[in-house]
């Protein structure tokens, strides 16, 4: 009964979203306020019924209703309740339902939070969101309904959730990632609404900015969590594999980052408008492309599910309609857009243009590397794969260039700046960065490559520039330092924090790439192995039975410079329901290094294959991601967005009165 209720609620949500995608749009076109005013209640209704459907599916999981085919495929009575709950988005159907729920949630948020928007803009934005929701609801209902029954032969026991996904990482990673992916639909909807109404101005950029920042922050967090999860769960100790599905999430992130910066220029200076719109369209299109790549099963990847071609075809159609329709509209309207000001060659506008060009270049190369194998396969020219060296060869130098310009751009003035004065301002920090970078690497043992130096020096460069910029701003006034620090706007701190995140991330990448130590060994009980300053002693493995698995737990005693330091217990688990073997690594995390021990397979006479790793600064990768996330959220919650829109509203009212 409950699952049927879920389907029914989805059908109702579909009906409402069809209304949402038509009535307010027509109303906005004709200037009919009554019709526009339907947008808000309809958005609430769509969210309400989607949420009911999601709750129904969650209930089916918690109640172990194996007559529902999706539950039978992805759950099991032996599964703890919290994994049964996260199993809701552990497979294709449920994760699409989560996607639709997230979309409805963003629509609801826009409906509730944007009371200050002009009615016709709000109607159009919600209308566009409604169109997207309609497309995805149709997709769920016709190709991937999670509520299909296995009747009358319903199994007594479920097939269990993929053990890889029985983890805290799976509980949080997909919802965060989807919040980001789907969040770009808001930026997209704002862009389309602006094109439709022909009002591409600074106000549009200001409305769109906080939404874009929040979506970008969630996507950053989602990718960071994914990297962290892969690190400890897959048992290889890697944090980025240039896997096609990772690339699928990186591409919208790159374009989204460009969009966040380009929106800043559009809001402050009224230039780059048509470029910003194009970026908004592409950020969302790449999110859809990512969904297509993951869900259609065309890729070889850890994320690939057994998939059916009908689904891939459906998403491909959605993708083509979105890109085709929005680019068509863009072609019709973009020529009317005029820049409101000009800028000279040395100015912050130019620096942000460089940022946009570089980010787009990285995105393009990633796109090429991801799609090329598919293209070659489709043309029947053989099966190929593109290796990580390709991606590294391009993204590393372009990324370094990006950091170099980041340091310059953040202190350059809008509109015009004296080039020689700027150069003078930059020389001292640059020298300091080089000295600090070279010294800190010289003092460390081990071989550094050129790129290690580049990464560390550029990280110091960003740090020095941030400090000098903040101190410049504080010293400009004669009031006490603390009062001046308080006076700096929240969005400024957000920017500095996110940029500091870039520096931290760069240190992480440079250090872990250069100084990572890995040993794959055959260890019998009593064997010892030295890795860096640490000595590992293998004491053998014992058997252990968990709730839905049986496992072998190895014990390794760790000594630091001869002193007892830690006991690490990596595990090898056999999940009985599916017969799947899983590695549970043992970690000793630290701010400056991780010890990482993974158990391979058992060999004869109690010996095991064991992987020992020493990973310096690996935590900095995710720390950088977190800093960027918080920076984005700080910038989005700057009070000035609310104040300014209220001011405009009152201006409008006095003008009308």
């Amino acid at each position: 009964m409950i699952p049927e209720l879920g389907t029914y609620a989805l059908v109702l949500a579909l009906c409402l979203s069809v209304l949402l995608s038509t009535i307010p749009m027509v109303g906005a076109q004709r200037g009919n306020l009554l019709w526009i005013s339907f947008a808000r209640p309809l958005s609430i209704g769509v969210f309400f019924f989607t949420a009911i459907s999601f709750v129904a599916l969650t209930y089916a999981f918690l109640a172990n209703d194996f007559s529902v085919s999706y539950v039978a495929n992805n759950s099991n009575t032996a599964l703890p309740w919290y994994y049964r709950m996260s199993a809701v988005w552990g497979g294709h159907e449920g994760s699409l339902l989560l996607w639709v729920l997230t979309l409805a949630g963003w629509t609801l948020a826009v409906a509730l939070k944007s009371r200050d928007l002009p009615a016709d803009i709000l109607g159009r934005v919600l209308g566009v969101m409604g169109i997207i929701t309609t497309g995805f609801l149709l997709f769920v209902l016709f190709t991937s309904s999670p509520f299909e029954r296995l009747l009358p032969r319903s199994p007594a026991e479920g097939a269990d959730l993929n053990p890889l996904l029985q983890d805290f990482g799976l509980i949080v990673h997909p919802p965060m990632l989807y919040m980001g992916y789907v969040g770009f639909s808001v930026a997209f909807a704002f862009a389309i609404a602006a094109l439709l109404s022909g009002r591409l101005d600074a106000a549009w950029a200001r409305w769109s900015r906080p939404w874009t920042n929040v979506a970008w922050a969630f996507l950053t967090l989602g990718i960071t969590l994914g990297s962290w999860w892969a690190y400890y769960e897959l048992g290889w100790g890697g944090w980025w594999f240039w896997d096609p599905v990772e690339n699928a999430s990186l591409m919208p992130w790159l374009i989204g980052t460009a969009l966040v910066h380009s929106l800043a220029v559009t809001e402050k200076r009224g230039v780059f408008k048509s470029w910003t719109v194009l970026l908004a369209i592409f950020a969302f299109s790449l999110s859809l492309l990512g969904t297509f790549l993951v869900r259609s099963g065309v890729l070889t990847s850890v994320h690939a599910f057994a998939a059916d071609p009908e689904r891939g075809f459906f998403i491909l159609m959605l993708l083509l309609i979105t890109i085709g329709g929005s680019l068509f509209l863009y072609a019709l309207r973009a020529s009317e857009v005029k820049s409101e000001s000009s800028f000279s060659l040395v100015s912050r506008e130019t620096m942000l243009l460089v940022n946009n060009v570089l980010l787009t270049v990285i995105c393009f190369t990633v796109l090429l590397g991801t799609l090329y194998p598919l293209l070659v396969d489709a043309l029947g020219m053989g099966k190929i794969s593109v290796g990580p060296p390709y991606f590294n060869a391009l993204s590393v130098p372009v990324g370094a260039l990006l950091m170099l310009f980041l340091g310059v751009g953040a202190v350059t003035r809008w509109r015009r700046q004296d080039g020689t004065a700027l150069l003078k301002q930059l020389v001292v920090p640059f020298v300091i960065a080089i000295v600090l970078g070279v010294l800190s690497l010289m003092l460390r043992e081990g071989e550094s490559t050129l790129w290690t130096y580049v990464g560390v020096i550029l990280a110091f460069w960003l740090l020095v520039m941030a400090i000098s910029d903040i101190s410049d701003r504080v010293r400009r006034r004669s009031t006490p330092v603390l009062a001046n620090l308080k006076r700096l706007p929240r969005s400024y701190y957000g920017m500095q924090m996110a940029h500091l995140g870039v520096a931290v991330l760069a240190v992480g990448i440079a250090m872990v790439s250069a100084f990572n130590e890995q040993r794959d060994l055959r260890m019998a009980p009593g064997d010892t192995q030295q890795v860096g300053d640490y000595t590992f002693v293998f004491e053998g493995a014992r058997h252990f039975d968990g709730p839905n698995y049986s496992s072998d737990i190895a014990t390794l005693r760790v000594f630091y410079k001869g002193e007892p330091y830690d006991v690490m217990q990596p595990e090898k688990r056999l999940y009985t329901a599916r017969g799947t073997v899983m590695t549970e690594v043992a970690l000793d995390p630290g701010l400056f290094r991780d010890l990482y021990v993974a158990l391979g397979e058992p060999l004869e006479n109690g010996a095991w294959a064991i992987r020992l790793q020493f990973k310096p600064y690996v935590r900095w990768l995710w720390l950088g991601g977190l800093l960027m996330t918080f920076g984005g959220i700080l910038a989005a919650t700057d009070p000035r967005y609310r104040k300014q829109s209220r001011r405009e509203q009152s201006k409008l009212e006095t003008a009308n009165a």
Partner: protein, 153 residues
Amino acid sequence: MNPKRKKRLLIVLFILSGAGVAVGLTLYALSQNINLFFSPTQIAQGEAPVGTRIRAGGMVVEGSVNRDNKSLRVEFEVTDFQNSVPIVYSGILPDLFREGQGIVAQGELDASGKLQAVEVLAKHDENYMPPEVAEALEKAGKMPKPSGQEFNK
């Protein structure tokens, strides 16, 4: 040419040359890092190059896994049920590596026709088959029926 136009021209030239360099580097890097996939039959017929990084895959032959008892060196064969290829690998095999399981190995063919693998991939879903392997098996007409079809339609 007035200064404004000159400035624009400079910006456009900057973008164009940047894009040109990027495209050139991209294509070069791409051509250096493509790994072609070969099925065991293709390798047996001598279609695969020797000493070049390639990918090969198929089902692990039952009873072919042979471990060295002093190191982590392991030898096994993969097959598309027409021909098979011996693979040598030194290191930790993935969790889902088993006899009868579809895998993909990446490495170079040596002069004796063995694939010296640097990476062995097995996927983390027991009913999932790497698309390359599935196609190779289909070509050989030996695609096995997946078990538990009830749960995976």
